[in-house]
Symmetry: C2
């Protein structure tokens, strides 16, 4: 017990005793066992972080932000890649609960994730949602302003003369997808351009999805003059498809998307994007979570919406102010 007091820096230990304990620690190479401490104190100093994919240039910085904030708060992070798979996500959640993480940071796969999250919230388990919110789910969350971001991106395209703008987005089961579609529609409406359902392509928001949706878009009779993809993975597939069809950006097709990519931004700054403060998002999410874990959060759920940043580069200029086709 006295040793425990020394290790945890509690007072109530004589100077001489403390010295002797420290000596013994050094001599034996003793390392405290956090597992045992966790069992005893019911505090594991560990949180879980579930993202679709660390390699995604949006989630990478989110993870870094969260991990750094966690370290500063004395916490460790169990990282899980859900791969956008609901089953895997649920498995991870159960597993992390079993590991007795003190809280969970989740970038949910889709609206359906709420079935996995719901049972946690009933038990008042600390959870913060990242990037996407969940319908009918009363839970702390932190997201970027997708409606405004999408609107400004499309407004930008319209201001350059684009009127036929294709939007690649997901299956209407994520808050980000819905909000970005809404922003797209708002921008069109404000410019008096009729919204056309057949210009919106539903796909998985990854590279292959972007590729397929773009192929479909290019197979239509009327071609768009620009494509707005819902995120940074879809845009990669879109670019592939465009290139295969011999279309050059921006001469033949404008291209914009959500999320900036650091390497691309410096090495080849041509893609116009709506940049999201990913690292801030991760670090603020962690802070919200720690407040909740510490019980300093109050019963009401908090919702933070971060601003996005339009970065105009070269991927959507239209020469002579008129669409190419």
């Amino acid at each position: 017990m006295t040793a425990s007091r020394v290790i945890n820096g509690r007072h109530g230990v004589g100077a001489e005793t403390q010295r002797r304990v420290e000596e013994a620690i050094a001599e034996l190479g003793y390392v405290p066992n956090r597992i045992a401490r966790g069992l005893s104190s019911q505090k594991t100093q560990t949180i879980g972080l579930i993202v679709p994919d660390v390699v995604n240039p949006f989630f990478g910085p989110v993870v870094r932000g969260a991990e750094t904030a966690a370290r500063r708060a004395g916490y460790r992070v169990l990282l899980c890649n859900s791969e956008g798979d609901l089953r895997l996500e649920r498995e991870y959640i159960n597993d992390l609960i079993s590991h007795r993480v003190e809280g969970l940071l989740v970038a949910p796969v889709s609206d359906h994730s709420r079935h996995s999250i719901f049972s946690l919230l009933r038990g008042e388990f600390p959870v913060v949602l990242l990037d996407r919110t969940l319908p009918e789910t009363d839970c702390d969350s932190i997201v970027c302003d997708s409606v405004s971001g999408a609107r400004r991106l499309v407004e930008h395209l319209i201001s350059l003369g684009h009127r036929h703008i294709t939007h690649l987005t997901d299956a209407d089961d994520t808050s980000t997808g819905r909000e970005r579609l809404k922003g797209y529609q708002e921008a069109l409406a404000a410019a008096g351009i009729p919204y056309r359902e057949e210009f919106v392509f539903r796909t998985t928001v990854d590279q292959i999805g972007g590729y397929r949706a773009t192929q479909q878009a290019l197979a239509l009779d009327v071609l768009p003059t620009a494509i707005f993809t819902v995120n940074n993975m879809t845009v990669v597939g879109a670019m592939q498809a465009l290139r295969e069809n011999g279309l050059v950006v921006p001469q033949d097709m404008g291209l914009v998307c959500f999320d900036d990519v650091e390497h691309l931004a410096v090495l080849s700054p041509f893609l116009t994007v709506m940049s999201q403060p990913a690292e801030t998002l991760g670090s603020l999410a962690a802070q919200l979570l720690f407040e909740r874990i510490a019980g300093k959060a109050g019963p009401r759920s908090r919702r933070i919406v971060l601003k996005t940043d339009l970065i105009v580069r070269l991927s959507c200029c239209i020469k002579s102010g008129v669409p190419v086709r």
Copy 2:
């Protein structure tokens, strides 16, 4: 105890009893406590993974590969970003030991990391080194063939007519840096080009380091015709510096580096690189570690060297076969 048997799927439980236990589990919403199991069985089903930075396009895939392999083996991953900081790395190692991870995957900061690793190995603690090896350290490791990779990259430059090739690398305290320098020297020697110390710039292998070193290189009287940077972060800084000096790649300066970047590769395929199988590296590292944890590894340390892949794109062509300057 009977409940424990049911939960762990051990035999020796009657069908009726099993049913009753399962019923109770469902009714109570019981979730087994892995912390307690870990304390009792001395197995936490957790490994630690320390990388300099998840956001780095090389380490991102490494993390994903390791995490996926870990999940398949029933393990969870505690992720730590050492930020290339020895102090932080050591802190993380101690902390992970304290968390009783069963093994450690480490991409060491530098040769000095061995002081932190050494004490683990004395205790036969399962460790696998990633990406970089450590001198005088007998430990499982998995790296890419840096010597050959660098040699082929420089050979490629030479074959295009480059003879003044600047190399941006680190402070000679990492195995990757030393080996890539060696490859650089080998390629020069094979082509009969004298090695010149003043064409090698030592720097921190990040963006700012690449920037500064390139500025220095461009301040010399004799300009190189090509730059070979040691990794994908340095190349970003190099590109920034080149652009600020009004130099265009590849017209004014060839540019090659280690590591491919997925987004760049598709969206703007111009950078010639030596691609490393990062995800494979992560997943193999995890497999080595699990073999060691399971005691199937034998006393001798294993060393795996993965092949790299030259991807020739457009960043170093020389028109008319003669250096521009």
